[in-house]
């Protein structure tokens, strides 16, 4: 695609899990966005997209948090999140929350059209075809549910990973099956969640890959927690770290 002449201003929606658990994913995202010709800013007034409240049936808190996000992220060319789940919440569900509130509905609509998950923004909006990065080893990829089914994130990470020197991608059977994280689901139904992630871990190990990648911290924490408990040597990372060439500088998730 033709590059616009000016540098688009992108606001990074950090996501609460990246903020607390893994800032390196946020910095990798910024690195990738800057290399793709964007100016990146991080609005200070962000906390959470409101999904835990929304999916718990608490519409009032979900709306309050949605208003907070809408206000904090107005005025940018784009909003990008290193998570299909949070981007999906902003893109697909805010409008549902404000279906009976025309003023906020319109603002939610406006935000919706400018919000993207990181990989789909890089590939679909910025037209990125390759990255400058090396990663020695075999990786497999888990497709996070919201990114996959709400936002159509499937080929974008694979296309960029194909350009990483030294990296071999081995597809994961059942890559599109949920890992069992599910936000508050893993708290409410730990036995089922644990069973689901065990099945996922077994399939990951069976690929023989040295590293498993995904685009959502929730899934990654869940998968890493299970693999490490099983004593597995498979390393777990957010795909942005590998694409930004920053994997060498931070330990994998759940390792020191």
């Amino acid at each position: 695609m033709a590059q616009p002449s000016h540098k688009p201003r992108v606001a990074l929606f950090v996501t609460c899990l990246v903020d607390i658990y893994r800032p390196s994913v946020g910095f990798s995202a910024i690195e990738l966005l800057e290399r793709a010709g964007c100016t990146v800013e991080v609005p200070r007034a962000q906390t959470c997209c409101g999904q835990p409240a929304y999916n718990s049936g608490d519409r009032a808190d979900a709306k309050a948090l949605a208003r907070q996000v809408i206000e904090a992220f107005e005025g940018f060319d784009y909003v990008v999140a290193p998570s299909g789940s949070c981007a999906g919440m902003i893109k697909e569900h805010y409008v549902e929350l404000f279906a009976d509130d025309p003023a906020w509905f319109q603002r939610a609509q406006h935000l919706r059209h400018r919000t993207y998950e990181l990989l789909s923004f890089l590939v679909d909006v910025r037209g990125l075809e390759r990255v400058e990065a090396r990663f020695e080893g075999t990786v497999t990829y888990h497709d996070s549910c919201s990114g996959l089914r709400e936002l159509g994130v499937k080929q974008q990470p694979r296309r960029l990973l194909a350009s990483v020197g030294g990296l071999e991608l081995r597809e994961l059977p059942g890559a599109e099956v949920c890992c069992g994280f599910g936000g508050t689901f893993c708290i409410k139904y730990p036995d089922i969640s644990n069973k689901m992630v065990e099945d996922k871990a077994v399939e990951i190990e069976a690929t023989g890959a040295g590293t498993v990648l995904a685009g959502d911290m929730g899934c990654l924490l869940n998968i890493a927690g299970k693999l490490k408990r099983r004593g597995s040597a498979v390393q777990v990372r957010h795909v942005a770290e590998v694409l930004a060439g920053q994997a060498a500088s931070v330990p994998p998730i759940g390792e020191a």
């Binding site: 607390i20 007034a45 927690g225 299970k226 759940g254 020191a256």
Partner: protein
């Protein structure tokens, strides 16, 4: 049927550790998912047919009274009768009344989920009749006195050894030396026994996949042919159907039939799709002398016009449960009532109350796979979320969970305080996991750390590091 849906969490805990459920659920992918995917790959119009199927059902729901009245008048014209029933009790009474009117003793049954809903077998037995399930899977679970665990494969949780054991226990006339190790032998044994039952029966009860307003026909779809024998050999054929099954025309039924088998079993078409219109005609050499349609509401009209209306498009194909990772982890019995899996998680609270079935709409990760495979494009996760909203409004969720959520939301609405809190949490957890990068046990997170480690945070929050970086730049 008696519900154990309120005990879902305990049911599920036991199920995830049950090796028999593990083995049975392992067959779901090759048995259902792969076959469906193959069938879809051969029909490029499938997506457009989904849109059309949805449109047909939406049109029917908006004109349900019109089509039901038309259906009834055509049934009567063909010599049949329609019995309108508001609830399970009325449906049971209607069926018993028909059976009594001819002095029936034995009743054969094709598979019908509405029959499970109204627990007709138990009722008929109490009244001194003998109901016999004729779908092989239903027959097996009837022998075992178990409920179905899947809406189209009721005995999917059982192994062939389980079936052999049941046959040996109940078919006491069988030669003990007879070899029943293979599915073929088990099928033959059931065929012999049930063939006699078909011929003895006075009444045959089937369900209906469709009711056709144009002709007054009822439609059943089976692979075994059991439904056909059930409705052809006895003197009386009773069709037990819920009222949202009506479609306008034979063409509309044909469109949805193109979706049904492919979604359910991955077949291009089921072996037997049978359209029945009234009783036998003058000159016919076989077929029932009486034709009754027991038309059941049992909560459907109360769903019309609500946020759950779209659930009434469901054609009971089972694709949602065949693709559900939660169903695959716990099996069908854990759900505790007639309808398991995602469609059950929406429908069950509507039919037996959210107080009883409140767990079900919560037991989903919202992975969205059910909606993506639903031939009727029912937004199942969205409707489960609507149930959660009703539960939240009625304060039905556990108090600790509500308080936790409330406290979290209070902080999340105050970014400055929130950032302070996350700094403390990240720092604390980071120190707990120092050296290993993970935490093996954490108070208040036992559900997580019971089976998983908790990866440790990197130490500082992103916001902290971003602020430090900004200060560094200013200083430079």
């Amino acid at each position: 049927m008696q519900s154990t849906s309120h005990a879902f969490k305990d049911n599920a805990r036991q199920a995830v550790g049950d090796p028999r459920i593990r083995k049975a659920m392992g067959l779901m992918k090759p048995g259902f998912q792969d076959r469906r995917a193959r069938a879809l790959s051969r029909l490029p119009e499938f997506e457009r047919l989904r849109e059309e199927g949805k449109a047909i059902k939406d049109h029917v729901l908006a004109n349900l009274d019109v089509y039901l009245e038309r259906f009834e008048s055509k049934v009567v014209e063909a010599g049949g009768q329609v019995h309108w029933c508001r609830n399970a009790a009325e449906a049971r009474e209607a069926i018993l009344g028909i059976c009594r009117s001819i002095g029936a003793r034995t009743v054969t049954k094709g598979k019908s989920m509405v029959a499970e809903e109204i627990a007709i077998n138990d009722y008929l037995e109490e009244q001194g009749l003998t109901p016999i399930e004729t779908d092989l899977g239903e027959y097996i679970i009837q022998l075992r006195n178990e409920p179905p665990s899947h809406i189209i494969a009721p005995a999917v949780h059982l192994s062939k050894e389980d079936v052999e054991q049941s046959f040996r226990e109940i078919h006491t006339w069988m030669d003990p030396a007879r070899v029943l190790a293979e599915p073929r032998a088990l099928v033959n044994e059931a065929r012999e026994v049930l063939r006699r039952k078909f011929q003895e029966a006075d009444v045959g009860i089937t369900g209906a996949n469709f009711l056709i307003a144009e002709t007054g026909s009822t439609v059943i779809v089976t692979n075994e042919g059991n439904g056909d024998l059930t409705q052809t050999l006895p003197k009386v054929h009773i069709v037990l159907a819920s009222l949202e099954k009506v479609v306008p025309t034979l063409e509309d039924a044909s469109t949805i039939l193109r979706l049904l088998a492919r979604s359910a079993t991955g077949q291009e078409f089921s072996a037997y799709t049978t359209f029945s219109t009234g009783p036998r005609r003058p000159g016919d050499l076989d077929g029932p002398e009486q034709f009754h349609v027991v038309l059941v509401d049992n909560g459907r009209t109360a769903m019309l016009g609500t946020e759950f209306q779209e659930m009434l498009r469901c054609i009971r194909c089972g694709a949602c449960m065949n693709h559900c990772p939660v169903y695959a982890a716990v099996g069908g019995h854990a759900y505790g009532w007639v309808y398991p899996g995602p469609m059950g998680s929406v429908l069950t609270p509507s039919l037996i109350g959210v107080q009883e079935a409140g767990h079900l709409p919560n037991a989903s990760t919202f992975c969205g796979r059910c909606e993506s495979v639903c031939p009727m494009k029912i937004p199942l996760p969205k409707m489960m979320r609507h149930w959660r909203e009703r539960e939240y409004e009625s304060k039905l969720q556990p108090a600790a969970y509500r308080y936790g959520l409330g406290i979290w939301a209070w902080f999340a609405r105050r970014p400055a305080l929130y950032h302070l809190g996350t700094r403390l949490a990240a720092g604390l957890l980071g120190r707990l996991g120092r050296g290993r990068g993970r935490i093996a046990s954490l108070p208040l997170a036992g559900g997580w750390t019971g089976g998983r480690d908790m990866p440790a945070p990197q130490g500082k929050t992103f916001q902290q590091l971003w602020a430090e970086r900004a200060r560094g730049r200013e200083a430079a």
